[in-house]
Symmetry: C2
Subunit: 362 residues, 2 copies
Amino acid sequence: MNEDEARVNLNIDRVRARPLPLKDDHVTLAHGSGGKASAALVEHVFMDAYGNDVLSQAGDSGVVATAELVQEHGTHLAMSTDSYVVNPIEFPGGNIGELAINGTVNDLAMAGAQPKFLTAGFVLEEGLAVSTLKTIVASMREAADKAGVKIIAGDTKVVPRGAADKLFITTAGVGVVPSNRTVGAEQVREGDVIILSGPIADHGMAVMMARGDLAIQAPIESDTQAVNGMVEALFTAAPDTRWLRDATRGGVATVCNELARATAKAVVLQDEGIKVRELTRAACDILGIDPLYVANEGTFLAVVPADQAQAALDALHTSGAPEATICGRIDAQPAASVVLVTGFGGTRMVDMLVGDPLPRIC
Amino acid sequence: MNEDEARVNLNIDRVRARPLPLKDDHVTLAHGSGGKASAALVEHVFMDAYGNDVLSQAGDSGVVATAELVQEHGTHLAMSTDSYVVNPIEFPGGNIGELAINGTVNDLAMAGAQPKFLTAGFVLEEGLAVSTLKTIVASMREAADKAGVKIIAGDTKVVPRGAADKLFITTAGVGVVPSNRTVGAEQVREGDVIILSGPIADHGMAVMMARGDLAIQAPIESDTQAVNGMVEALFTAAPDTRWLRDATRGGVATVCNELARATAKAVVLQDEGIKVRELTRAACDILGIDPLYVANEGTFLAVVPADQAQAALDALHTSGAPEATICGRIDAQPAASVVLVTGFGGTRMVDMLVGDPLPRIC
């Protein structure tokens, strides 16, 4: 058993007591991957400095922290932020602007919040075509309308040519959390069922194809979409929904590892419950990338009580997620680990991502 | 059309009827200056696409829009965002992290809000020293503590070496607006008095000096600071404060032009009421830059009713702005213009900034 495996088997107290080591003196691409290096950077740099009650309880598929709940003046608010640096800025199925809106909407939805207001901060590279900027801004408006949110504030900075790559967007959002919703890893119980809202790995592979530096081409479209409507339907059908997470950077494997780590329970995935479209799987195979680690931008995992699982599934099927599946369950052992049960009945451990096979996909 | 909408439309009819032309096909550094080109970009690209009731009434020294008021669930919330790309990332008197906290705190304070919660999105260049990141993150925490706000969510992205310049930070913030406060250009009346909270041009010149590419050196420190405490004191002393604006990008000249444009009144500045520290003025003189156009990061303008001006000034003097001055007044003519009355009794028009003499100062 190597050190990593040993760590995975630690219970939650010991995991918290012994954070991931930060071995690097300089930032590497792996620190942006959503995997182990990201977690180490967050723990050592950001949590150490910012640590407060709200942030310490946070967890996101993203990095530093996440949407978290704030009770203020009788209203439960959730707030979230995400930066977008995807390359290229336009790809089949979407662009950086749509991604920036949907991503923050989804982060809020994953906190059980109803997204209301967004802000957008732009860093533009000198020389960017105004027509490109207009296209991106227009699709942000469209995405916001579709998600039912308003963009109420923004900022633009321009840096000299070469000091940024075309365009970066950081969105932040505020949502309101209905008082009867409590989602979080601490709500998760043994026997709970895990639901996956749709096929995985489309976004990451669509962006890879769009870069055009691969020898293969395939018409794969990003799954970028706002999921707040589906989440509302889910809560109506399964009011005791325990935990929600969109499987962005690091993919399903990474968010399941975060869940296993936070609960000190086992996340047991069923291979047959995890759909991958044929073209996407073929592209992953050719590149030697496991689709479980590829980013999604409109696909999420939900943990629900077993007796509400069918209702949850039915609700998702009729609210925009026709391909939602039951993809696993929560067990006691192996503690703090993720295992995948294959179609042949075999099992394999699914570890956290190390390094970043697909940089700049969001 | 309700009364508010009517009023806003009246005030800016002349401006809106003839928006600034957007002549460029590509983004230039001038579009990030906070001046005329910025305003044109905002009007043609962002307002066209995002335009909604909240955003349309917005105005900020920054660009796209600003902190604006949202009534939701009985609470008046203000929300704001700002991106920071300052070069170098550390300079006398502060660093990019401190700037990012203070800037968003100040944007909220300028909307009459009490800042509460902040988010921070980081874009990191591969190769950035982790020790540098730790220093910046630590000073963000310190700045947040000093301003009385909590950093509750964040995100980190890493881009390959050369795709960004070291580190960009976008902060967003939420504040609560006490129900008895209404600030905005539409509140401004002829005869109102303009107060300036301190000496100007320190931030921009400090950053210029820190770049080390000038033949001159001077120990000038940035004025970066959170002003929310001063603003609270101001509202206590002058509850009918009409309008507030921190004189960031584009400096005092630009925000005064925005005020003149939004009110269709004259902003009459008195040269003797505008303090510039000796070293800062000398540096401006050598570089041929008018301090009125240089960015500040902890200095603001307030328009107050004439009969509350002395109380406002006294309150500022004892709440962290000992050098606050009365620097001008609101007149009817010349409409929609800014004039500066010099010590010799002469006057000159102060136009909006064209181009950007000091790129990447925030």
